[in-house]
């Protein structure tokens, strides 16, 4: 194209041309005022004096290929004319960016390497418009992005990110503990001392692991006063709950381990006999599920919640046994859950069996 222009040129209008070379080696020539619109080219010309002939063509950055270069030069050619109105420029711009996404990205990249800021802004805004308001699937399709995040990473990014099951567990435990202690204080003043000891130990534990997450719970109890009342009723029924939960849980652990046939027998017999207890406990399980760390619970489905509740109960018991063993358990909780009840804590498992035998005797779980 530029060669045709050279032929038609009138002798009295001698335009001067600048020679540009793209990364692939091809050389183009372009009118000087158009080329000077690009700051990078302008600087090259003024500082190094290159570009005045074919042999001394200005080599453009690698990101500029010939087809994109012609686009950019069209842009420069239009905008470098001083007399155009804003409206004209705007409508040119709007038509100009109606190209496919791939070319738009290349254009942005090339304009950036030539330091042509108005064009970079224009194309960036166009790309932003393609992203704005679209769903992630649509955006991925438009730009051919790989869908390579795990489901977990895809969780709404601004959600509360206390997703670690350990932290959740401990949060729930702490909240539950606090509520029960408050109820206890109302009922019996004498035993406050003991409770306080317990609470402190829970506090220490939690602050060691959690780093003070418990503080945030303070503000939330007010919200759930209704549920507090329900909890009072359940305090009396905790014993029953514990039993039923144990019996529910055992099949999981033991069946997976498949070693202690004896235990299995005991379990089966107990599970049938405690079925009534279980039923009662299940009903009261419902309201227990939603307590005061409401934000964390929001995203769990009921089955998950029940399972975690069971785990918390189990945990609560274990917390009240030996301290060092407790610590170990907690730290290894995420890794070796299956082994914990049988291999690690001889105490716990044996106690569990004795409780099964005692079945319906109300226990002081704490």
């Amino acid at each position: 194209m530029s060669e045709c222009e050279m032929v038609i040129i009138k002798p009295e209008v001698m335009k001067s041309y600048i020679w540009l070379q793209t990364a692939d080696g091809s050389i183009q020539q372009v009118e000087e005022e158009v080329a000077m619109f690009c700051p990078m080219i302008c600087r090259e010309i003024l500082q190094t004096g290159m570009g005045s002939s074919k042999n001394y063509a200005i080599s453009l950055p690698q990101r500029v290929n010939p087809s994109i270069l012609s686009l950019i030069l069209d842009y420069c050619r239009f905008h470098q004319v001083p007399g155009r109105s804003n409206k004209e420029r705007k409508s040119f711009d709007e038509k100009f960016i109606r190209i496919d996404t791939k070319r738009l990205c290349e254009l942005t990249s090339a304009a950036d390497s030539l330091q042509l800021k108005p064009l970079v802004d224009l194309t960036s805004r166009a790309l932003a418009r393609m992203i704005e308001g679209k769903s992630p699937e649509e955006i991925r399709e438009t730009f051919h992005l790989p869908d390579d995040l795990t489901e977990e990473e895809k969780l709404e990014p601004l959600r509360n990110t206390a997703d670690d099951p350990r932290i959740r567990l401990l949060n729930r435990l702490y909240a539950r503990k606090r509520k029960e202690l408050r109820e206890r204080e109302k009922l019996k003043n004498v035993e406050v001392e003991e409770e306080r000891v317990d609470e402190r130990s829970v506090d220490d534990l939690l602050s060691f692991i959690n780093g003070g997450v418990g503080d945030s719970k303070g503000g939330k109890t007010a919200k759930h006063k209704k549920k507090n009342r329900r909890r009072k009723d359940q305090a009396k029924g905790t014993a029953l709950n514990n039993v039923s939960k144990i019996s529910k849980k055992e099949p999981e652990y033991l069946s997976s381990e498949c070693n202690n046939g004896e235990a299995g027998n005991i379990i089966e017999s107990s599970s049938s006999k405690t079925s009534k207890v279980q039923d009662v406990a299940v009903d009261s399980l419902g309201p227990k599920v939603e307590f005061d760390d409401g934000d964390i619970d929001d995203e769990l489905d009921p089955a998950m919640k029940e399972e975690l509740d069971r785990e918390v109960e189990d945990f609560a018991r274990r917390l009240n046994s030996d301290w060092p063993e407790r610590m170990q358990e907690i730290l290894s909780l995420g890794q070796e859950r299956r082994h914990v009840p049988i291999s690690m804590n001889g105490n716990g498992s044996s106690r569990r069996y004795t409780r099964l035998e005692q079945r319906c005797t109300p226990m002081d779980a704490h």
């Binding site: 992203i131 992005l145 390579d148 995040l149 895809k154």
Partner: protein, 430 residues
């Protein structure tokens, strides 16, 4: 699970970081953050966004505080601009921490509109605000601004523009704050209270807008000041509203030191404030650059106010545009005689508005004094081009009388046009 369609491979994710930032900056904050779930490349691209804007368009209805917490926590690097405006906050917990966090991230533009709904007290800004040493632009709304007593570490060395709306000041005077911001160019204080004295010592100040209550004002060192707007409100804390400071008029004290201004707006009770004390015939300084004068709430029956007006007229030889809004002084008697006499004197003292081109009079009633005033202007403005008159809305019957009178007046300028607008008809021409 990589899906590569036939036509494309991923071009956008590998653009240089400055382009990605450019793209994300053009998105509302919600969309920008949501790019983190597009792909692994994009997971934290938004986290270096230099501008975080939570405004009305971002449509965050609930959990705003939480969302801001999360965004700030995940963010990495400098934050150039942070805006929180147009959204109803239910509580102010956490704002302290945000400001502290921003002060550690070299924030340059901070916009906080803290309109706490529900009748709680106003939010008091934390002192960590003064640790934001890189601030260029600060806009605050609806809070209590506590200026620390010592000026050590008080100021913002780079602050160019300060806008405070609906602010209660507590503590030291604002003079300290202003003088500790050496690069300050624009100062806007709208609807403020809690200040007594305003002393403006700002070598780079170009524009100042004040609308609130104060007792005294003076401009000390403002060589570049071009635009001044003072809308004084009644000062309600103890004592008389307009302190008679001995013989020297407030007019001289307030407006002295404004040698280079080009535009002056005075309104609300400023005129009454300036009218206390002895009013000179003309000011000691001549305002050679003042081109536009906007006077609001001129009570034409008040001799002192009119004296101030004429005093100003005599000191502004290059005035080109004059806009006056009249106001009825509800309490005062409508005794026009002193004013009429005064204006009669002025009439014979010669031309003084030699460059006046445009005059706009609003809300006038067609009273004798007002018409005499207009007559005076017409007779003394040799290059006047347009005079627009928009009367008060109740004036319909007297309207045509006013027109007749106006037509009768002689005009010093052959080009003068008189445009009479019906109430509510006026459009802002030129």
């Amino acid at each position: 699970m990589k899906t590569v369609t036939s036509s494309g491979c991923d071009r956008i994710s590998y653009l240089p970081i400055n382009i990605i930032e450019n793209i994300l900056v053009n998105l509302p904050i919600k969309d920008a953050v949501r790019t983190s779930i597009l792909s692994t490349e994009w997971r934290y691209k938004w986290a270096t966004l230099p501008k975080i804007v939570f405004d009305y368009e971002s449509r965050i209805k609930s959990k705003l505080i939480k969302i801001v917490h999360q965004v700030l926590l995940i963010h990495v690097g400098y934050i150039k601009k942070f805006e929180l405006s147009g959204l109803a906050l239910r509580s102010c917990s956490g704002i302290d921490k945000w400001i502290l966090f921003l002060s550690r991230n070299a924030i340059e533009e901070l916009i906080l509109h803290i309109d706490v709904g529900g009748g709680g007290g106003k939010y008091t800004l934390p002192s960590s605000l003064f640790h934001c040493k890189q601030l260029r632009y600060l806009e605050l709304r609806g809070c209590i601004f506590r200026i620390p007593p010592t000026s050590k570490g008080l100021g913002f060395n780079h602050l160019k523009r300060l806008r405070l709306y609906n602010i209660t000041f507590v503590g030291s005077t604002i003079g300290c704050l202003i003088s500790s911001c050496p690069l300050l160019e624009i100062l806007e204080l709208d609807d403020f209270n809690g200040l007594t004295d305003i002393e403006v010592d700002a070598p780079n100040l170009i524009l100042i807008y004040l609308c609130g209550s104060f007792r005294r004002i003076c401009f000390k060192n403002c060589p570049l000041l071009v635009n001044v707007a003072i809308y004084k409100c009644g000062y309600s804390i103890g004592g008389s509203n307009y302190i008679d400071q001995g013989r020297r008029s407030n007019l001289i004290k307030a407006l002295g030191g404004l040698a280079r201004i080009e535009e002056l707006k005075l309104g609300n009770e400023t005129m009454k404030f300036l009218a206390t004390g002895n009013i000179p015939r003309k000011l000691p300084h001549i305002y050679n650059h003042l081109r536009r004068l906007y006077l609001d709430c001129i009570t034409f029956c008040n001799l002192k106010v009119i004296s101030v007006v004429f005093c100003l007229f005599k000191s502004v030889p290059k005035l080109q545009r004059l806009e006056i809004s009249a106001q009825l002084d509800k309490g005062a008697p409508r005794d026009m005689e002193p004013v009429l006499e005064f204006m009669e004197e002025q009439f014979h003292s010669g031309c003084f508005l030699n460059e006046l081109q445009v005059v706009k009079m609003r809300y006038i009633y067609g009273m004798r004094v007002e018409l005499e005033f207009l007559k005076l202007l017409l007779a003394n403005a040799p290059v006047l081009e347009t005079m627009c008159i928009a009367p008060e809305s109740e004036v319909t019957a007297a309207g045509s009388n006013m027109c007749k009178e106006l037509l009768r007046f002689c005009r010093a300028s052959p080009k003068a046009k008189i445009l009479y607008f019906e109430p509510y008809e006026e459009s802002d021409e030129d």
